[in-house]
């Protein structure tokens, strides 16, 4: 068994808003092994980006705050690190790619100066060495004509190219973990696949782990080794990707899978959307947060909140009725 790289335990991240305290991340526990591709799936506002920002310790405070739990990375609890130690870690050991490739590059700086920056900061490279390395990085992420590109400004590049630059930047100091927060959502479908392939290639080459945060189950199926499904701030199901597709155990996972068109389903079958709406995070329903939308809900579900419990060595689920949940109802 390979070593655990990142171990998030009972993570709590809260935001104080005018409407009350929002538990954006509530008792989240998962671990990512070395070299593994881990996907965190859920709809908008379920807390997946906040989980990523918590790992980076980039939660804007106030209003947000990590109120409990631990994030162990490579044997160290990130929550105990000083601000400057944490800053040294960002970009060097953990890289992150954001959702908007259009706006994650600074419009007034050349590609070269932005790519070279983390190299100068973390690896103490001279300007010359950093610029040479920047060119290698551009070649690595498959952008042709790297010499010209280096001198260009972000507005002269397409969205896909910009996201490639972001990957190059995040991978520049060969981090152990790459976090991709909805990194392909804003791109065309064809470009999405290229970018994902690229992320997988670069992480495989350096042996880094990849944390993909997405709402797109298609991405998960093709790239992830393990998947965690998140709903209203809590993890609902954690499993190996193939077994989750074959045999989802949480009603929400089932809902997600059934709301996506599949090549192998009958053409006539309508898609089944998940009924109801995402609950208000300041005012969650009693018991299991998913119970008002759940087909399998029993009385117990509106009183008690199920904990994430182990079903098999690779699968954990938070549902009382998981044994009766099936994909083909």
């Amino acid at each position: 068994m390979t070593e655990t790289l990142l171990k998030v335990e009972h993570l709590q991240t809260e935001f104080r808003t005018e409407g009350g305290v929002v538990k954006a991340v509530d008792d989240v526990t998962f671990e990512i092994k070395q070299g593994e591709t881990f996907a965190l799936v859920g709809e908008s506002g379920c807390g997946k980006s906040v989980t990523a920002l918590s790992i980076m310790r980039l939660i804007p405070n106030p209003p947000g705050e990590i109120t409990g739990g631990s994030i162990e990375f490579d044997g160290e609890n990130l929550l105990d690190l000083s601000d400057s130690d944490m800053r040294d870690l960002r970009g060097s050991k953990i890289g992150m790619i954001f959702q908007e490739p259009m706006s994650s590059l600074n419009p007034v700086l050349t590609i070269e100066s932005q790519l070279a920056e983390p190299l100068k900061i973390h690896m103490n490279l001279s300007s010359k060495a950093a610029n040479d390395r920047a060119q290698e990085l551009i070649d690595m992420v498959g952008i042709p004509d790297s010499k010209t590109r280096l001198r260009q400004y972000p507005h002269e590049l397409s969205g896909g190219q910009r996201q490639r630059i972001m990957i190059a930047m995040a991978m520049s100091c060969t981090p152990r973990l790459l976090i991709a927060d909805e990194a392909t959502t804003a791109l065309d479908v064809t470009i999405q696949a290229q970018i994902l392939d690229l992320m997988q290639d670069v992480t495989e080459q350096s042996g880094a782990s990849l944390l993909i945060i997405t709402h797109n189950l298609g991405i998960v199926a093709r790239y992830a080794d393990r998947v965690a499904v998140m709903y209203a701030g809590k993890l609902r199901e954690v499993s190996d990707a193939p077994s989750m597709y074959a045999n989802p155990l949480h009603p929400y996972t089932v809902g997600l899978l059934r709301s996506v068109p599949r090549l192998d389903s009958d053409k006539g079958t309508p898609l089944a959307p998940i009924a109801g709406e995402i609950p208000d995070l300041t005012n969650l329903p009693d018991g299991c947060a998913f119970n008002p939308r759940c087909k399998w809900a029993v009385d117990r579900c509106s009183n008690e909140s199920p904990e994430l419990s182990e079903i098999s060595p690779t699968t954990q689920v938070a549902c009382f009725e998981h044994s009766s949940v099936t994909l083909h109802a």
Binding site: R87, M102, N106, L109
Partner: protein, 306 residues
């Protein structure tokens, strides 16, 4: 591929200022009608600079010499702008006064910009400091500029240095407010977050990531500060709270002429004209820079620059 086009993204997609300025210079060279205004304004400002540097040398007489026999004369070949109530040459005094206006104007602009931008960058990252500092700024901005300057000068005495200090205070306060707002909104931008995510330290983020993005705002604001500082200096001199009367300044020449406006209209008219034209030129330059740098007008920029 650039399928998203909400205003936020437009902002982020705007080319950097160096590129925009290059476009602006190119379009200036083409001299379309709007750019004619810019070109004329720049020429006027350059002329002003020239007078400010060489005014005393260019003066054809000793501008302080009184000549009571020739007092209150209208414009003539001997005295282009006529003479005042002491027989002093108004042309000479006006061009000598240019130096004072430019000195005060540019000093106030530079001082307020440097201090204002520095303070704004620093306080935008320290919440408590920000809260305290902004209350001071509010306090200073609550006073009308001229009133505050008058009060300060009556406290510390009239001199060029004190005029500059007095005017710099309110100018700095408004700079802090403007730049702070811009920095606060930039701080939330994805590329600043991305810079933090690769471990860039805060001072470096402020200097290399935030500051270059607000240069255009700062430049435009500086032109308006320049115009208002020149006007404010003239106002203070007019009210007798600026430089001493024997030092020529557009403001006090106008004040001198005020008493003789019905018999010697020219005394106030010419320095007033200089003042108006200079301020107008500065404001038009500011407008023009803003139009070229404002990303919301980018569509037009493209048609003129490419």
């Amino acid at each position: 591929m650039t399928s998203i086009s909400d205003p936020q993204t437009e902002w982020e997609l705007a080319p950097p200022m160096s590129v925009r300025l290059r476009g602006m210079l190119r379009s200036t060279a083409k001299a379309s009608k709007r750019d004619m205004v810019l070109a004329v304004s720049i020429i006027i400002l350059l002329l002003g600079f020239f007078l400010a540097l060489f005014g005393p040398t260019l003066a054809r007489t000793d501008y302080e010499r009184t000549d009571p026999i020739n007092r209150m004369q209208g414009p003539s070949l001997d005295h282009w702008f006529g003479t005042d109530n002491w027989g002093r040459d108004v042309f000479d005094r006006t061009i000598v006064g240019t130096r004072l206006s430019f000195l005060v104007g540019f000093s106030v602009t530079i001082i307020s910009t440097v201090i204002g931008v520095t303070v704004a960058l620093i306080i935008s990252y320290f919440r408590i400091l920000d809260a305290i500092m902004m209350r001071f700024v509010d306090g200073f901005l609550a006073f009308p500029t001229i009133l505050l300057a008058l009060a300060l000068i009556s406290l510390i005495g009239p001199s060029i240095g004190n005029v500059i200090i007095a005017l710099s205070i309110t100018a700095t306060a408004s700079k802090i407010r403007l730049v702070r707002g811009a920095v606060l909104s930039l701080r939330e931008s994805t590329y600043v977050e991305a810079a933090r995510a690769v471990g860039v330290p805060v001072p470096r983020i402020l200097l290399f990531h935030v500051l270059p993005n607000i240069v255009s705002i700062i430049i435009v604001q500086a032109t308006f500060t320049l115009a208002s500082a020149i006007l404010a200096e003239a106002s203070l001199s007019f009210l007798g709270a600026g430089v001493p009367e024997y030092v020529p300044s557009w403001g006090n020449i106008i004040a001198t002429g005020q008493g003789y406006i019905q018999v010697g209209f020219h005394i106030s008219f010419f320095p007033g004209l200089f003042l108006t034209v200079t301020v107008l030129a500065v404001v038009l330059i500011g407008d023009s820079i803003r139009d070229h740098l404002d990303p919301k007008l980018r569509g037009r920029l493209k048609t003129t620059a490419q």
